[in-house]
């Protein structure tokens, strides 16, 4: 018994390097298994390209089970494709009817420069985390898990925010290329827990200052980010970020401003 296969026309963004001019190129795909994931279909495309002596398409991927946040394709006008609550690696070809033309583009945002083809530099997210998305932990033995009591509802709220895998779909979906949903999730997961209190007086302001310096846009509350988020992070976290930011700015007894972290030279891909 052979599995059902389908044929597709792919329109893929090809860009040889960060400073090169890119273009959409068309590829015909034959005999793609309906059980293949979108990334497996790209593996098949790359084998085809290699066999023809062409340059394979560069794309990010790692765990291929929807938890690492590496895959980042803008498929048919939507980040991670037409399904909701999943990443590109969890998207299967059975979603696409036979003979469909599929557009595949990289995340488009000024702070996410293309490195090659569909691969973008998401280092801006790492620097936002570096600016305040952490907790200070004392060295020594781990304390007993039940020493700090956290009500279930609050633990759930923190966990919902912590589900963010930092893939950048929110930025890709947002008409303003804003990173507010990402930043809000990373602020929220710590803001609601006692462990996050030590840095909470300046966490939101520092992370926002970093977000702004990276060149992300502002929030228009369209909700596109949350709709496209593979982890379905809620917009309520953005409201919390706004509150935390205002609290930081108007109550922190310190006027010294956070100095945004510069992009390290060794991460300069010639952009």
């Amino acid at each position: 018994m052979s599995a059902e296969t389908r044929n597709y026309t792919l329109k893929v963004w090809r860009q040889s390097g960060s400073s090169a001019k890119g273009e959409i190129k068309t590829y015909e795909m034959k005999n793609v298994s309906v059980g293949a994931s979108f990334l497996e279909m790209f593996d098949q495309l790359n084998e085809q390209l290699l066999a023809n002596g062409e340059d394979p398409v560069a794309f990010d991927h790692d765990c291929r089970e929807g938890i690492c946040g590496m895959c980042s394709m803008y498929i048919n006008g939507r980040p991670h494709g037409p399904d909701t609550g999943i990443t590109t690696c969890q998207l299967h070809m059975r979603t696409f009817p036979d003979g469909e033309t599929i557009y595949v583009e990289p995340w488009r945002a000024k702070p996410f420069p293309v490195i090659k083809d569909l691969t973008v530099d998401r280092g801006a997210f790492d620097r936002i985390i570096q600016a305040g998305g952490y907790v200070s932990v004392n060295t020594g033995n781990a304390q007993d898990a039940n020493e700090i009591l956290i009500p279930k509802a609050i633990a759930d709220e923190a966990m919902d925010a912590a589900a963010c895998i930092g893939c950048g779909a929110c930025v890709a979906a947002c008409k303003n290329a804003s990173a507010m949903l990402f930043v809000s999730a990373k602020v929220s997961q710590l803001a609601v827990l006692p462990q996050g209190k030590s840095e909470s007086s300046r966490r939101a302001q520092n992370m926002l200052a970093q977000m702004d310096s990276e060149g992300f846009g502002a929030c228009t509350n369209t909700g596109a980010c949350s709709s496209e988020c593979p982890k379905e992070i809620s917009l309520t976290h953005i409201a919390r970020l706004n509150r935390e930011y205002l609290r930081n700015r108007f109550t922190l007894n310190d006027v010294e401003e956070f100095q945004p972290i510069k992009k390290p030279d060794y991460l300069d891909f010639g952009v």
């Binding site: 945002a109 979906a173 303003n176 060149g215 228009t220 596109a224 706004n242």
Partner: protein
């Protein structure tokens, strides 16, 4: 820069300016609408002209009007700047194929466009009535032995022309869509999100976005038809 100006020029700060000025302008919409309803008093404009005189001469109202001009200016200038910087954040290449209708409402994505339509209306409206009233030559009318500027005549003449009535009503439609997203969005921006109150704010916003523009639009329509 001082800590305050750094706060107000950050991405959240700029949105907070938009939210606060937007809600402030919503209160103005109510006051202005209540005043406009006097156009329909059927007294040949006596009440309306006396009201117009009061609004342009009473010192407290005059003082408040400067706050209103500032609110308009901040909302417009900040809005235009946000359109520009948000567009720039996308980068040099935009998507060849995008499907935003799959994840967000048209009104939420079109706040800039709707705002521009309202701005065009606002400029015309100010030139036609406000500018005329303050700096132009006005027809005069005598009420109780005192001469008053006859703003009622200016307005009722304008609303005899189908073009003005049409443009006015269209602008109110744009205002309605702008408020549909803007009202609740302002609360979200201010961090005022709560499981108990947000559904109420949302419904109140939708109600406001429908009732207020209809209230405005119905006046020229009635004046045109009568």
């Amino acid at each position: 820069m001082s800590w305050l100006s750094t706060t107000l020029t950050s991405s959240i700060g700029r949105k907070i300016v938009m939210a606060l000025t937007g809600l402030f302008l919503c209160t103005f919409l109510i006051v202005h609408l209540v005043g406009n309803f006097q156009l329909l008093a059927g007294d040949g404009g006596v009440k309306f002209n006396l009201y117009a005189k009061f609004m342009t001469t009473f010192p407290l109202v005059k003082a408040l009007s400067y706050g209103l001009y500032a609110g308009f200016a901040l909302h417009i200038i900040q809005g235009l700047m946000l359109i520009q910087s948000n567009k720039a954040a996308r980068g040099a290449n935009n998507y060849a194929y995008s499907k935003p209708e799959a994840n967000s409402s048209w009104t939420s994505r079109s706040m800039g466009l709707l705002g521009m339509i309202i701005l065009l209306f606002f400029v015309g409206h100010m030139a036609q009535f406000w500018g005329q009233m303050h700096f132009g030559t006005m027809p005069m009318v005598t009420i109780d032995g005192i001469e008053h500027k006859d703003l009622f005549k200016l307005v009722s003449e304008a609303f005899k022309q189908p073009l003005f009535v049409g443009l006015y009503v269209l602008s109110m439609v744009a205002l309605g869509f702008h408020l549909w997203h803007g009202f609740q969005s302002a609360f979200q921006t201010l961090g005022l999100n709560h499981q108990k109150y947000s559904p109420f704010v949302e419904k109140a916003g939708y109600g406001f976005a429908v009732v207020v523009p209809i209230g405005y639009a119905i006046i020229p329509i009635i004046m045109f038809l009568s």
